[in-house]
């Protein structure tokens, strides 16, 4: 494993974790978002380790505002993340994509794979729902529709993430592209329960191995 740094279009210096031999094809791994990024982090890194054993190099960049990034989350939106993903692909020498869940929303136009892709609007819906449920538990009444309007005007804190108004606005309309260069890998192909659903983060080595095998096979074809 190696750490690399690269500069996102917004000017921030971002880190990326790299595995594997220093030769093409190199896979750009676009991580899951928000709460799912924590639940799938171990799985994602482990998949990269297993790809390395198959001789496939991969890099996992921090999206601006996430992980070790010093950029402000509030200033990010889908455009800045798309720009960051495209620039990471270029600067880190990637030829293919492995997008995890909502990562598919910002994938640059390269061939590759989308694991259990999730539209940005669905990701936002789940975050809003979690917030209304926790408000209800605390005895407050919040409505998703009101929160959405507020979020588009002023930004909103969702699941511990300070999302800016442009991010909320863009997420609320974000559908997965109908035409994608990415081959979809469905959860059922990994042969286990979806790890992002798990209330407590957990790892499943067999699922990481299954994903690595599918990606490795797909790259050869």
């Amino acid at each position: 494993m190696q750490l690399q740094s690269w500069q996102a279009p917004g000017g921030s210096e971002e880190l990326a974790i790299r595995f594997g031999p220093n030769k093409a094809p190199r896979l750009l791994v676009l991580p899951a978002w928000f709460d799912e990024s924590n639940k799938l982090r171990h799985f994602t890194i482990q998949t990269m380790r297993l790809l390395e054993k198959r001789g496939i190099a991969s890099v996992l960049p921090d999206l601006p505002g996430c992980n070790e990034s010093l950029a402000l989350m509030q200033e990010q939106d889908l455009d800045s993340w798309r720009g960051a993903a495209a620039s990471a692909a270029g600067k880190l020498g990637c030829t293919h994509i492995l997008a995890i869940r909502a990562g598919a929303n910002i994938a640059p136009a390269l061939p590759g794979f989308a694991y259990a892709p999730l539209a940005g609007k669905s990701a936002l819906r789940a975050l809003l729902r979690a917030r209304t449920i926790s408000a209800k538990e605390a005895g407050r009444e919040e409505k998703s529709t009101d929160l959405l309007e507020l979020g588009k005007a002023e930004g909103l804190e969702l699941a511990g993430y300070e999302l800016g108004p442009r991010m909320i606005e863009q997420l609320s309309g974000a559908e997965l592209p109908s035409e994608s260069a990415l081959t979809e890998i469905r959860q059922a192909e990994l042969g286990g329960p979806a790890l992002w659903l798990r209330a407590e983060p957990e790892h499943d080595e067999a699922q990481a191995a299954a994903l690595a095998a599918l990606v490795a096979r797909g790259l050869v074809e």
């Binding site: 729902r129 979690a130 209304t132 209800k136 998703s144 209330a199």
Partner: protein
Amino acid sequence: MSDNLPAVRDDDIEVELILRQVLQDVLGLDAEEVAEFTEDTGLFGHLPELDSMAVAGLLTEVEDRLDILIEDDEVDGEMLETFGGLLAFVTAKREEG
């Protein structure tokens, strides 16, 4: 009319199976443990790991698998408190749909 009854029961059984399956995935339990859930088994507020984010994920997954849409104002303490409450809600929702 009576011809329709068995079909409705089949659907109810399917709804219950799917709900148990999703709970199994969310809670990381095995099938036997979830099979022991009764109507009175406590969920939200009773299982510490089932926080608001996990419940939101659970409802979204149930929506996807059962092809239903759950509105904000339908989500209340009673529906989330027990397995029986959630099952009754989801079954009714499915029959509406």
